[in-house]
Amino acid sequence: MPSYVARRLAYSIPVLLIASFLLFAFVRATFDPTARLRASRDPHAVERERVRLGLDKPIVVQYKDWLVKFGQGDWGESSRTHDRVAPMIRSALWNTIQLILWGILVSAVFAIGIGIYSAVRQYSLADYVLTSASFIGLAMPPFWFGLIAIAFLAVGPKNWFHLSNPPLFFVGLHSVQSTGILDYPRHLVLPVLTLTVQIVASWSRYERASMLDAINADYVRAAKAKGLSPRQVIFKHAFRNALIPLVTVMALDVGLLFGGLVVTEQIFSVPGMGKLFIDSLVQGDANVLVVWTVVTAAFVIIFNLLADVAYGALDPRIRLA
């Protein structure tokens, strides 16, 4: 196992190098970080900034300079804000992790529950209702759902019931003046709901399908024939096997989420990785974008690895080599 993990990590280094170089070159070729200085009346402002940022050097030299510093632990400086990139990423990552953590927890509980229930009660009214709801959830654009959720779960109740504050908040993760112990959860509900609606819909379909496969497998029939209770059959035999495909999907999705909460973070004013990416992209901040890519790619690789490791834990027949 350790050698497998080490090998997988070693393979990822060239992937990260290629990805970071491509992004670096792409951003440099398509975005001009000095563009905003075109609005300055100063005819030399652009030239001064180009020299300061090293944009007058060939792209390979620029990348090499960046890479050497990155290897030395210096993640560079944002050309947009002049801040150090490392604390920018750290701060954004922490905000995104909070959303992901709660989002994944809620999604997993609901998706697995819905998936199992739908599979066990296949073709029942509840199955049809949950299936329809899943498809609606899958088709729901997060930006639209987020705004609808704000209107009907925050602003609406506040006005309908003449409350002094909305029951749920939606600007950032904390109030300016804390409204008590429930302040944080009241800020989390709506972004987590927006984040989870598509995930629950998607994962519950996977879980339902794999549970159906498991329920109809020979070993489950054998377990039933042995006289085990339905609960034991489902949770001890079918469920554990049905988890394997879902774990793969979950690991891939979670890895991608580290860079993919753009819409949710934008609507709920959460300064996370998605928002950092958009802000940096719009202004051609290559230094931030490249580190962002490396960090995001690292999470994808780590979670893929975790999925592989989890296989072994879920199914003792699987051995990693």
């Binding site: 001009d32 609005a39 300016v176 004013s269």
Partner: protein, 563 residues
Amino acid sequence: MRHVRHSSPLLVALLALALIAAACGGGGGSKAASNQGSNSNVPTGGTLVAGWEQEPDCVDWIGSCSGSSYGYWAANVTTMPRTYNVVKKGTSWGYAPSNLLTGEADLKTSPNQVVTYHINPQAKWSDGQPITAHDFKYLWDQIVNGSDIYDTTGYVNIQSVDDSNPAAPVVTFKTPYADWKSLFGGQYGLYPSHLLEGKDRDKETANGYTWSGGPWMMPPGGWQKGSQLTLVPNPNYWGTKPKLDKIVYKFITDTSAEFQAFKSGEVQLIYPQPQPDAVDQIKAGIAGSNSFYTPDTGNLEALWFNNGKAPFNDPKVREAWGYVLDRAAIVDRLFGPLGVKAPMNTINPTIVRDYADPNAWSQYKPDSSKVNQLMTSAGWTKGSDGVWAKGGQKFTAELQSTTGNKRRELTEQIIQQQLQAAGFPMTIKEDKSGDLFGSILPKGDFQVALYAQVLTSFSPSNCNIFCSANIPVAPKFSGQNWQRVNDPTNVDPLLTKVDSSLDESVRMDSNKKADPVLASTDVALPLDPLPDVLLWGKKLAGPVGDNPVMGPMWNSNLWGIGK
């Protein structure tokens, strides 16, 4: 000084220190809030939470990372001392000395331009140290010798700053600079030299700064990047001290979410860009709120023709478009619910109306006979399909603008429909803001573009965008005359005089004369003034209003929160 409006108004902020000084200056009139008088009738205490559409990239206001107008409005005008403010004077706007000065600066025009400022003896930094002539010298030195400066204009005209008298800095110019009142203020403001000299200014302000020379100051850790920026009263401010305990700017970049936050009471004040969503929301009404909107702004949105590229290198084609487009209908559709229905008929924003001929473009109204006459005389004929053609080539044009701006998308569609009906097929191309302003426009790779020019100081400065010397050329493509207007005989002399004369009446007269000259060949087609919109909750007390240059927070030291 002119900026291009990217995704937002890029206005300059001139510090709100005039709040008291304005008592002997301008203010008053129309709907704009006055900064005069005391705030004794306003409730004390409380926190104002404002929804803010953009976060400043940095608060080193002279650095290349600055330039966010929302940043200036939020933190620059409230914390940085400056020499002059822009205030309302009757129906116009103009410069007035701030309370940093005891009155107007002394101006000597020959043999060199020399300006002597007289610093108010009460003026001091938040740590109690006096604001001195050395702070003036420090700012000038940082700007002309710094490596990452946003704009050195005006400061490079200065030969020396004499700080031998701490209370009266003497600024001597190498070459005349007409907009000298924007210096040592304008979009920058003074820095405390006693705290920053010998240090890396940019790094010292990287996470905000706790010194102040305005009514407000940032507390330690007051800038939580990405989330909010907090201001508290400056205890050593020598003017009217704030009544509020705190102002918190919450960064909400999504306009829809911003309005919902306002409706829910999570924020008590918003200053949204005039997007269709915002206009619709205001039209529908928002309970429990006050609103203020005005076309009296430093913005001007227009169709900017590339005068150096076909088909718009032919003035007759440009003029023909002027007689095709129903600009009044466009403006009414965009901003009618805000009461803004008339198109701009000058190339100057409304706040510099004293420098403008307000009717220079008024002849450009829909007139099909004029269109036919102009196009025919230019060698174009209308085909059986109703499309103009010349030399066997059908008319085509591409309108370029910034992506992701709903108002501009709507404007483009209306323009496209009107032109199509008149035989001018037009395609639309939207580019990223950085690409459009960073490369496409400077290189002249466009036919016609839709964007806004925004004043960043109280000076028309049209020479920047219309003088032939400012046409960008390879390899650097410096200069902002992206339209390639090339009229050294008529336009250049008039606009050069506006930038260099120290006689205000000469500047006004020259700029007024330039307006009809530019209109005669329709170098650009002005559309609308991009109204400013401000909404605030009814509990917010005091003279809340908008200053088109300094933004809405300019007199926030006079505000309070009712129970």
